[in-house]
């Protein structure tokens, strides 16, 4: 997996700042802070716990799991399970590990709910533009057409409990837009199972999960990306996640440098002035939704969010214009010194993943 989303995003500023009134500055609290490079970014875990050796061991085990998942889901490591699947699943079903099956299953859920804007088969198009992003020539129309032929989530067939088949001779999947979120959720599960109840898990700043609350506090305060630098958006997390997504900044030296997020429908880099933050109960959901909703934009994206439960989304552009929807946790605009209230709409479906396919239309 190239994990292109995390590797190329320039500045998804997710900052966790002291909030004395809420966090009560945990003087003398004991904590463990570990980090590990995986999936093209740095995973970090901070744990507050009275038993430091236990916390240390739990953080190590959780990060070991992230590295294991990276080895399984990487699409640039030829020996990974995902690479093997990408070589062999054309026109015949192949068995895949449970973890990859779950991630693909959840990916298809978001593909269907976004009319294909979220699509893990977009890899051939991403690779095409990646060369241009690195300073190479822009791909020709013929190149784009050739790559588009390999793209389309409808050509992926999952057969429970562990089989997959591609109905295309050139399809290959890239889990970069959702795999980090899945790894963060696995990390939280391992910490929970180890008896850890106060932890902050950060995957390169673009996907964060907060387990419990810091000592003396009710939640973890997270500062969110704000392209306008006017609004100071923040969110309070407790047993939930936030992810941020944004197209690469335009080049200051070249006029035609493309961004790294590709629109599956057009096969071209997304042009948007927005950064988006999505809060959801799971990191898998927030990670996938952040890409999906950035691609959809605020109008169509808001319509999707209104069908989901416990999800909040916030689009902010460089002028400070924003759209905030959802019935999940509230976003705060500290620049305007007020919380954003969102009224809960009706008739939602769950954004959490485990039963995702059962809810498909």
């Amino acid at each position: 997996m190239r994990w292109l989303k995390s590797a190329a995003l320039p500045s998804l500023t997710l900052a966790m700042l002291p909030l004395p009134a809420i966090l009560c500055s945990p003087q003398n609290s004991s904590f463990v802070h570990q980090k590990r490079y995986a999936m093209g970014t740095v995973f970090e875990i901070v744990i507050y716990d009275e038993d430091l050796p236990r916390a240390d061991a739990a953080a190590r085990a959780a990060l070991d799991e992230v590295v294991r998942l990276d080895g399984m889901m990487s699409n640039y490591k030829p020996e990974s399970d995902l690479s093997r699947m990408n070589r062999t699943a054309h026109f015949q079903p192949v068995r895949i590990p449970r973890e990859i099956y779950e991630v693909i299953e959840e990916s298809l859920y978001y593909s269907r709910h976004s009319d294909g804007q979220f699509d893990i088969s977009v890899g051939p198009l991403v690779d095409l533009w990646k060369a241009a992003l690195a300073g190479g020539p822009l791909p020709t129309a013929a190149d784009q057409a050739s790559a588009r032929r390999c793209v389309g989530y409808q050509k992926i067939e999952l057969t429970p409990p562990d089989r997959i088949q591609f109905h295309s001779d050139c399809m290959r999947l890239d889990l970069g837009a959702i795999g980090k979120g899945y790894a963060v959720d696995r990390t939280a599960e391992i910490l929970n199972a180890s008896g850890i109840h106060r932890a902050y898990i950060d995957a390169g700043g673009s996907t964060i999960y907060a387990l419990g609350a810091p000592p003396g506090g009710t939640a973890w305060r997270v500062r969110l990306r704000d392209p306008s630098r006017k609004l100071g958006p923040e969110v309070m997390l407790r047993n939930n996640s936030v992810s941020t997504s944004e197209q690469s900044a335009p080049s200051s030296l070249q006029g035609d440098a493309p961004g790294h997020i590709i629109v599956p429908g057009t096969g071209k880099p997304l042009q948007t002035r927005y950064a988006i933050s999505v809060a959801a109960p799971s990191a898998t959901a927030s990670d996938a939704l952040s890409t999906t909703l950035l691609l959809l934009g605020p109008t169509k994206g808001a319509a999707l969010v209104k069908t989901l439960h416990n999800v909040s989304a916030m689009w902010i552009d460089s002028d400070g214009q924003r759209t905030i929807v959802g019935d999940g946790v509230s976003f705060f605009l500290t620049g305007e010194n007020r919380p954003i209230q969102v009224s809960p709409p009706k008739n939602r479906i769950a954004a959490t993943s485990k039963a995702a396919n059962e809810l498909l239309p």
Partner: protein, 480 residues
């Protein structure tokens, strides 16, 4: 770019003097006992001035160490007097006078020249522990903050610091840098830093080809003296890196660089240059007085961070006309090429086409060094890059060429505590590629391919450091 061979010869001669020869590890210790040098694998130790007990230096000397005293420039006279009595090899001088490194070295140089029996190093301030950084900073009171706005893995490296120091003071003293260990996140009762942290610091100095001073924590020093098995287990994890570093070439080497950086104030442009290093842009930095035809002939791109005189501007115009890229940062000067309309004009950049090349003028300083470095890498492109890595976000590479040959040696440092599969592209054609590392004594042949004037190969599992030797059988074709 048109290449002129006799100018290359001039270039080799002109910059050989400023290229450091050694990348020694100096261990800064407490003025207390230390195991003998043949046990630690260290030759050079540093004691901080003032010494309470000068006999410590003599004792360390008798144990096989070369002893250096680190002092401020104002204390130099007293330190030299002590050195004569205490078997001291040399001094590491810190500049506390509020002047630039360049002026400090200039001022002290006559003093050093008068004491030829002693070895002097000028300490470059501002070093940092080389490491992969996260986004979170955990402070002592438990408050958490984000340290970096970038989601890219952030590497703290001293490459830019040293390159700038070398360009500021090319003909004066040998330099040395140091840093303090980052103790955040250390568990009580655990050795900190761990062996990997030492290994990265040693490997980085090797790659930069600069001397470095590394602190030996007093607790570890005492434990080593006491024969604590845990302490020795840690130290034995470090020794292969000391040994590997000590076997690097000591000939004067020329950095492999396709990008020139012209700078007169290292501090003002430091962060931009730091990010250029971080993005593996193969660069050299020079002061404005170093802009010569010979120098330009080895580059295909130049970034200018300071005002230049007319002669230098004319040289850069010709450089661009023959296919080079020139980027002027924070410039409002009038240039001769302004007589023609720009190729492109935006609020953040104006681009002029000049002959086969182009000039980019930025009206402001670099406000986002990360984006600037990434944009620069895109603008230069792979075709012009002397060195490039794929899918290796945690590895930095430096390259050096021997003066009289076209053989190239690459130094790779992986800052993550995870083996990295590193795909490397080097401009030029080579007959043989050989790899050595602390885990793999010199040398194993590495399969490679030639593609479009580049040599490409993969290092399957770079743990912390490796050197790659690219041997040229066709000397004339292995050009940057």
């Amino acid at each position: 770019m048109k290449r002129i061979s006799f100018l290359r010869v001039l270039l080799l001669g002109s910059i050989a003097a400023c290229t450091p020869v050694t990348a020694k590890v100096f261990l800064r210790v407490e003025a207390s006992p230390l195991p003998p040098a043949d046990k630690t694998g260290i030759q050079d130790v540093v004691l901080l001035w003032p010494l309470r007990d000068p006999s410590v230096a003599a004792k360390l000397h008798s144990q096989g160490y070369r002893v250096f005293l680190q002092c401020e420039s104002k204390d130099l006279a007293a330190v030299v007097a002590t050195a004569d009595r205490a078997a001291v090899t040399g001094m590491i001088v810190t500049n506390t006078v509020p002047s630039s490194q360049f002026h400090a070295a200039e001022r002290l140089h006559p003093y050093f020249a008068a004491h030829k029996s002693l070895t002097f190093r000028m300490l470059v301030p501002g070093g940092k522990q080389p490491q992969l950084k996260g986004r979170l900073v955990v402070e002592r009171d438990g408050v958490l903050q984000i340290s970096s706005p970038s989601s890219q893995p952030w590497l703290d490296t001293n490459l830019a610091l040293v390159r700038l120091a070398q360009s500021m003071d090319p003909d004066s003293l040998p330099i040395i840098y140091d840093f303090h260990w980052d103790t955040s996140g250390a568990l009580p009762d655990a050795w900190h830093p761990d062996a990997e942290a030492y290994a990265v610091a040693i490997a980085e100095a090797d790659a930069i080809r600069s001397d470095v001073t590394i602190d030996l924590p007093s607790s570890l020093q005492r434990a080593l003296v006491a024969g604590d098995p845990r302490a020795w287990t840690l130290w034995k994890g470090i020794m292969p890196y000391l040994d590997f570093s000590s076997h690097a070439a000591t000939e004067r080497m020329l950095p492999v660089a396709n990008l020139g950086v012209i700078v007169d104030d290292g501090q003002a442009s430091y962060e931009a240059i730091n990010l250029m290093a971080r993005h593996n842009l193969a660069f050299e930095s020079v002061r404005p007085s170093g802009v010569t035809l010979a120098r330009l002939s080895s580059w295909n791109s130049v970034v200018v961070f300071c005002p230049l005189n007319k002669e230098a501007v004319a040289l850069l115009r010709d450089f661009a006309a023959s296919g080079g890229i020139v980027i002027f940062v924070n410039t409002h000067d009038e240039f001769s090429w302004h007589s023609a309309p720009p190729l492109r004009q935006e609020s953040r950049a104006t681009v002029y086409s000049i002959g086969a090349g182009q000039v980019v003028e930025l009206p402001e300083p670099v406000v986002d060094p990360e984006n600037f470095a990434r944009d620069l890498r895109r603008l230069i492109g792979r075709e012009r890059s002397a060195l490039a890595l794929w899918n290796s976000l945690t590895t930095l590479v430096t390259g050096y060429r021997e003066q009289s040959r076209s053989d190239v040696t690459l130094y790779l440092v992986n800052y993550a505590n995870q083996p990295d599969s590193v795909q490397v592209q080097v401009k030029g054609r080579f007959a043989r590629v050989r790899l050595e590392s602390p885990e793999q004594p010199c040398c194993v042949s590495v399969p490679f391919v030639e593609r479009g004037g580049f040599t490409e190969f993969t290092i399957p599992a770079l743990r912390i450091t490796a050197r790659v030797h690219l041997d040229s059988a066709r000397e004339s074709s292995a050009t940057p």
